[in-house]
């Protein structure tokens, strides 16, 4: 039987994930400013430069940044296999990701082909690093579970999404004749429906029972769901490329995708309602909000299949998926991961009574405040495609969430530094 060492050195130095986590909220704030910068409502047109720039600030600058930081912590636990060369991987990913995301957003805003042409190779480097490191980690993992399959499928779809994204950016920059609409749809499907959804499902299989002491996801669901979603995404890709006719075939394929996504949300809500740990918990509330929004998004997306006349509903379903579903879960995860990391790095090496507990590292009232702010932002996003004032509320919500996250992260870092100093002074 293949074995790997399980030791505390598996965890990367605390500076590695915290670097990703502290940069990420700055992109939320940037997205907020970008949304406010245009004369027109950016949500009214899916292809508006401000919406494209802000969306990529959120997906690349915030979501990918947090996921990159978190995956290095999560892999050793959920698939019992650390990421290789954590420091090198982190530097090779974070710098190109920061500059690539900034240049891409600037390129969209200014319609500047030079910026786009510098951005896409940088982003390619960041994601190739992540994909290679994740594949090595998966190959070394002795675990045989549904999470491992989900992460593998998520990484494969991420590869496809990034390749299409690079092609689109290069195409816009150089004026290539490409089927832009089809490629953009495939890029969005693989990014959100593939990478984001599959990764969230795979991690949820482990963390939902862990954090709330719920029953496990049913084995048949855990084993079958992510391969089924992956298969449907491939069918969807084929339907786009081969222009499936009749139209009902496209509706069936997309309907299957949303049915599967809803099954995950419904199963999670049922498990959470049967949780053993009944106390109020901000992460639980973030997760529940995310799952409810995913169900609403699925219903909306299905409705747009039958009534495709209004483009704004399509924008709304993408917005809800990103802000209401993915961002809710990411926020919830951050509030477990960051305090635990600080505690873990202070505690390791022995029993120390002076180590603050998780709630002293990030006080819970900040998490509840963040949840309220986030709910408000999601609610405003529902009206944003039709009501210009709501765009201000969405922007304000994103700006305040970014500021709050920066504040709580620096609070956690300062608790870490003070406690470390105290521990070092008191050690013989």
């Amino acid at each position: 039987m293949k074995t790997i060492p399980l030791n505390t050195q598996q965890a990367p130095p605390i500076s590695v994930p915290l670097r990703f986590f502290t940069v990420a909220p700055l992109f939320l704030m940037l997205a907020a400013l970008i949304l406010l910068s245009g004369k027109y409502n950016p949500f009214a047109n899916m292809h508006s430069p401000a919406l494209l720039a802000a969306t990529h600030c959120i997906t690349l600058g915030f979501m990918a940044m947090v996921m990159l930081g978190a995956i290095q912590q999560i892999m050793p636990v959920v698939i019992v296999s650390p990421m290789p060369a954590t420091r090198l991987t982190a530097w090779l990913a974070i710098l190109p990701l920061i500059f690539g995301a900034l240049l891409l957003a600037a390129g969209f805003m200014q319609g500047n082909p030079v910026l786009l042409d510098i951005a896409w190779p940088l982003l390619g480097l960041a994601f190739v690093t992540l994909i290679a490191a994740s594949l090595i980690s998966l190959a070394r993992s002795p675990a045989h579970n549904a999470t491992k399959t989900a992460i593998l499928l998520s990484i494969i779809t991420l590869g496809g999404a990034i390749a299409l994204g690079m092609l689109l950016a290069h195409g816009y920059a150089s004026g290539l004749l490409l089927p832009y609409d089809k490629l953009a749809t495939a890029h969005i499907n693989l990014s959100l429906g593939g990478w984001v959804l599959l990764l969230i499902i795979g991690v949820s299989y482990q963390v939902v029972p862990m954090f709330q002491l719920t029953p496990n996801y049913p084995e048949w669901l855990a084993a079958g769901l992510t391969p089924a979603i992956f298969f449907v995404l491939l069918l969807n890709l084929l339907s786009l490329l081969l222009e499936f006719r009749p139209n009902w075939l496209v509706i069936v394929v997309q309907g299957m995708f949303w049915f599967l996504a809803s099954s995950f949300a419904a199963a999670t809500l049922v498990l959470q309602s049967n949780r053993r740990r009944r106390i109020a918990d901000p992460t639980l509330s973030f997760f529940r909000l995310g799952m409810v929004v995913l169900l609403c998004t699925a219903m909306l997306a299905l409705a747009t299949l039958f009534f495709p006349s209004n483009d704004r509903f399509v924008t709304l379903s993408a917005e809800l998926f990103l802000l209401g579903f993915a961002m809710s879960l990411i926020n919830g995860m951050l509030y477990k991961i960051v305090p635990f990391l600080v505690w873990f790095h202070l505690f390791r090496g022995g029993v120390k009574r002076a180590v603050p507990n998780m709630r002293e590292i990030i006080p819970e009232h900040w998490m509840w405040l963040h949840l309220r702010l986030h709910r408000g932002t999601v609610l405003a996003a529902v009206f944003a495609p039709w009501w210009n004032v709501a765009v201000w509320f969405v922007s304000l919500g994103l700006l305040m969430q970014g500021m709050l996250l920066v504040y709580v992260l620096f609070t956690a870092i300062s608790v870490y530094r003070r406690s470390l100093q105290r521990l070092e002074e008191s050690s013989p």
């Binding site: 074995t3 030791n7 636990v77 019992v80 862990m210």
Partner: protein
């Protein structure tokens, strides 16, 4: 439950239940109930550590199992024991806030520890100790 993985997984779940009951009672301020529930939880955990540290792990090492993961699991046991003692003090002082923070911390360390054991260490033990499983499981059950 014919394997170490199944037996110990079930034990983890039983400790989880005791953990949740004592946390709920403390946060509700039901101190008498909390004392009893916490006592049950501490006893469950102590027995679990005893089974692993005095029965399973030594047998696994003698059968040629990997000492590295066993050493890490024992270190994490020490971390958990430290937290449980701190929770005991918080309970004695009726300090709900402190208990809540400690139990939140213990939950995460306990769950990620269990996951590593269930996904890696116990399957290794089932593999290395295949020939003496029945006898060892009887010994663990009676501990």
């Amino acid at each position: 439950m014919d394997t170490i993985t199944e037996f110990m997984k079930e034990y983890h779940h039983s400790c989880d239940r005791a953990f949740a009951d004592s946390e709920q009672a403390v946060l509700d301020g039901k101190w008498m109930e909390a004392e009893t529930a916490f006592d049950d939880f501490r006893t469950d955990m102590a027995r679990h550590f005893h089974i692993e540290e005095d029965k399973l792990f030594p047998t696994l090492i003698s059968a040629g199992g990997p000492p590295g993961p066993v050493h890490v699991m024992c270190m994490e046991h020490d971390q958990m024991k430290g937290l449980i003692e701190q929770m005991c003090s918080a309970l004695a002082q009726r300090d709900t806030q402190e208990y809540g923070g400690l139990s939140e911390t213990l939950l995460i360390i306990m769950q990620q520890h269990n996951l590593k054991e269930e996904q890696m260490l116990y399957p290794i033990a089932d593999h290395f100790l295949a020939t003496q499983l029945g006898e060892l499981l009887d010994d663990m059950r009676s501990a």
